[in-house]
């Protein structure tokens, strides 16, 4: 993953097609100013997000991972985000046990109309990751 050294960090976002991806689009259409550290991966539903996606990203170079789906009860497939909520909560509790700061992983719900909320989520999460600094400082040196 390329990034602007010293200025940007690597943040991966898994957004559901129906709400959060639309929300990010709305934010773009509304011309909200957003940080550019986030790389968005569009998934059909937050229920598609395997917790291992997050682990794999964090172990292989991402400094933070954001998962966003439809609000509970609003899922396009009616119950995908309910399953996601259980899985991701388990993961959020497991990460610190392995020595990865739980603040590097965040999951939230943003609907397609909430452009302003999306802007806030991205800005706040990026700020939080910048405060934590890069996760893979050891490898950065050898590169």
């Amino acid at each position: 993953m390329s990034y602007v050294a010293g200025k940007e960090l690597r943040i991966v976002g898994f957004l559901c097609n129906w709400c959060s991806y639309g929300g990010a689009d709305t934010a773009g259409v509304g011309r909200f100013k957003q940080p550019t550290d986030l790389r968005i991966i569009r998934v059909p539903c937050s229920g598609r997000v395997n917790p291992l996606f997050v682990v794999k990203a964090l172990l292989n170079g991402a400094d933070g991972v954001l998962v966003s789906g439809c609000h509970p009860r609003d899922c396009h497939y009616s119950d995908g985000n309910f399953y996601a909520r259980r899985r991701l909560e388990m993961l959020k509790r497991l990460l610190p046990f392995l020595g990865i700061d739980e603040r590097r992983f965040h999951y939230t719900w943003v609907s397609a109309s909430e452009g302003a909320r999306w802007k806030n989520v991205v800005t706040d999460f990026t700020k939080a990751i910048h405060n934590l600094g890069p996760l893979h400082h050891k490898e950065e040196k050898t590169e």
Binding site: L59, R86, E89, A128
Partner: protein
Amino acid sequence: MTIEKLKEAARKILPEVDVVIGYRQGFDPLHATPYFMTKPEQVDQLIWNSLCVQNLCSYLPFLKGKVGVIVKGCDSRTIVQYMQEKLIVRENVKVIGVPCLRVISVKKVLAAINQQSVKEVTFEGENIVVKTPEGQKTIPLADVAPRKCVTCQLATPLQYDVLAGEGIQSNKPQDTFEETKEFEKLSLEERRAYWEKEFDRCIRCYACRNACPMCICQDKCIAESRDPHWTSQRANVTEKFMFHMIHGLHLAGRCISCEECERVCPMDIPVAKIKKKISMDLKELFGYEAGMNPDDTPPMYVFKVEEATIEEHEL
């Protein structure tokens, strides 16, 4: 004697099934090994003592036809979990339950006798007496018990068709996840360093996965597949870490804490620690323990519209 009752039960069941799985003496007096009995005369070689550590239920999903199996209390959770996930047909399995208060950890015994070769092993009350070329050593069974026996609540199996002996109550304290909580008191950096040090030893032999009774898709395990390519062949700590995450997370809500993964690890990596942490979270979040009731559904397969225990996270 339990062994006589076991032999009797095995002989009685043998005509009804294709094979009865039990234990016999392994390559040295300190090891018992799984034993597949198909003929009545083979039953004489059956043994039962604290060395019978293996979880024999692990064979069940891979065996066709009718099977008899000797099952300890801890192993019986495997049967329950298999029933939940419909991996076995309960009618095709004849379960010979055996009351058990504790097994031993062979690794711990070997550490206590300095990894010498073992000439003879006898049990005297609550002690194990090991004879080595340098002499003999008496070790209390409680000192060499694996972690799961310390807080074992299932002295009598949950599921059985025949019980060899009397049903007994466990005399152990409830599991309070003391070790996990203690580990969580370390700083993030210390925890990270701990796991990197431990996983660095991993040789990716997959013994933990192969011995795991719940790893039932091991012939198409994503840890070895190239499409999808979850882990590469690189021998670095990242790949090893990833493999153990795959194993751990695939067992969330399914791990029945038999700790076979840790027992078989040739590099002594505490892999069960991760599964223990997941079990603790499941108990806290959903009040669930895997493998206790065949009618339960694993918590990751269901949801509630309003989750009382999960709070929204703020940034």
